[in-house]
Amino acid sequence: MTVQYSCLVVEDSPMMRQLLVLALSRLKSLQITEADDGVDGLRKLAAGKFDIILTDINMPIMDGLKLVKRVRSDPAHKDVPIIVITTEGSSEDRQRALQLGANAYITKPIQAPQVIAKVRELLRIDA
């Protein structure tokens, strides 16, 4: 039986979210849950168990950096791998996210193979 992993995608832009989900859906072992922003992400984290989180940084209500901080301070999710999605030129945000406990980052515009490779690497899924 194939091992199933659950993935939380936190992104306020419907377009980017759709692109990410489309890319990740190529990994058959991944079940994807979508969230509109950091607060929605935390709500969904509280309601379920996730093996990996992908989050945008610039979001309304609660941004990705706050989300990373909140996830890392929660004993239930402190070890869940987090990939942050940043825009070019926001190296400070990237560094801050990594300092707060994010495991990796992807720069926009995103490319599906890059997203898949990063998720595979962090979940240790064989190609």
Binding site: P14, M15, Q18, L19, L22, E88, P109, A112
Partner: protein, 250 residues
């Protein structure tokens, strides 16, 4: 009698020597034969190895071709995914503000545009009027007069030409010059505006095939999405009656 015996002994010794010679010769021949067999065996082995080598080279070439094809398919898949998402998002809303946001996001997130302006024609004044922008303040954008071939500055001339001809302009090679692209917005068979891409993100040095496809998609669908959203807003969300639609279908 003695002479005969000596003769026999001498013959015997000569025959013994002869036997020894023949045996030595036989041994030498056997060694040579074994050597020849070894060489023949080695030659056969070399032949087999050569065939294996040719097979391996062919397999490596096939694998290289498959890898190239895989990369091509991956790239095509990426392009289709981008075009699918662009098309889906462009028509996913009937609010003008959201449609404009989606157009901006498509260009910023999928293409890597740093600054852009969206212009719509004001038919009475014969001006292209900036209605939205990204990476640049919309109030800083000037209206572009449509002078039908009149003299105006480089950017305005290019936008005017794009609008008038309905031909997409995409800068070839490195996009140092401004604008990097100009997309005519078509509604049915007439242009109602243009999107001007002023500059790209630092890492985006040139346009790729899928960017041009996205520009074509925007050129063909963005105006329709904008006008539909506007009309929907004016109609206050009222859906046309079935009877009205049936009459229009006839």
């Amino acid at each position: 009698m003695t002479g005969l015996t000596e003769q026999l002994v001498a013959d015997y010794k000569r025959l013994c020597d002869r036997v020894a010679d023949v045996e030595a010769e036989n041994a030498a021949l056997k060694t040579q034969l074994a050597g020849d067999r070894a060489i023949a065996h080695l030659l056969q082995k070399i032949g087999e190895l050569e065939r294996d080598k040719a097979r391996l080279i062919s397999t490596v070439q096939e694998q290289a071709q498959m890898t190239n094809r895989f990369v091509e398919i991956e790239s095509e898949l990426e392009s289709f995914a981008n075009l699918y998402v662009a098309s889906f998002q462009l028509h996913s809303s009937l609010r003008v503000r959201t449609v404009v946001r989606h157009i901006r996001e498509l260009l910023v997130q999928l293409v890597g545009v740093r600054s852009l302006g969206i212009y719509v024609i004001d038919d009475s004044a014969r001006h292209l009027v900036p209605i939205a922008a990204d990476g640049v303040d919309v109030s800083a954008l000037r209206m572009i007069p449509i002078r039908d071939g009149g003299v105006c500055d480089g950017v305005e001339a290019l936008v005017e030409r794009t609008f008038s001809t309905g031909m997409l302009h995409v800068a070839e090679g490195e996009t140092i010059g401004r604008p990097a692209a100009c997309i005519p917005l078509a509604l049915e068979d007439r242009a109602i505006g243009a999107i001007v891409v002023y500059a790209l993100l630092e890492h985006k040095k040139r346009f790729v095939t899928v960017d041009r496809e996205l520009f074509k998609l925007l050129g063909a669908h963005a105006a329709g999405a904008l006008v539909s959203a506007h009309l929907w807003g004016q109609a206050d969300g009222h859906v046309p009656s079935a009877e009205a639609l049936r009459e229009m279908c006839a």
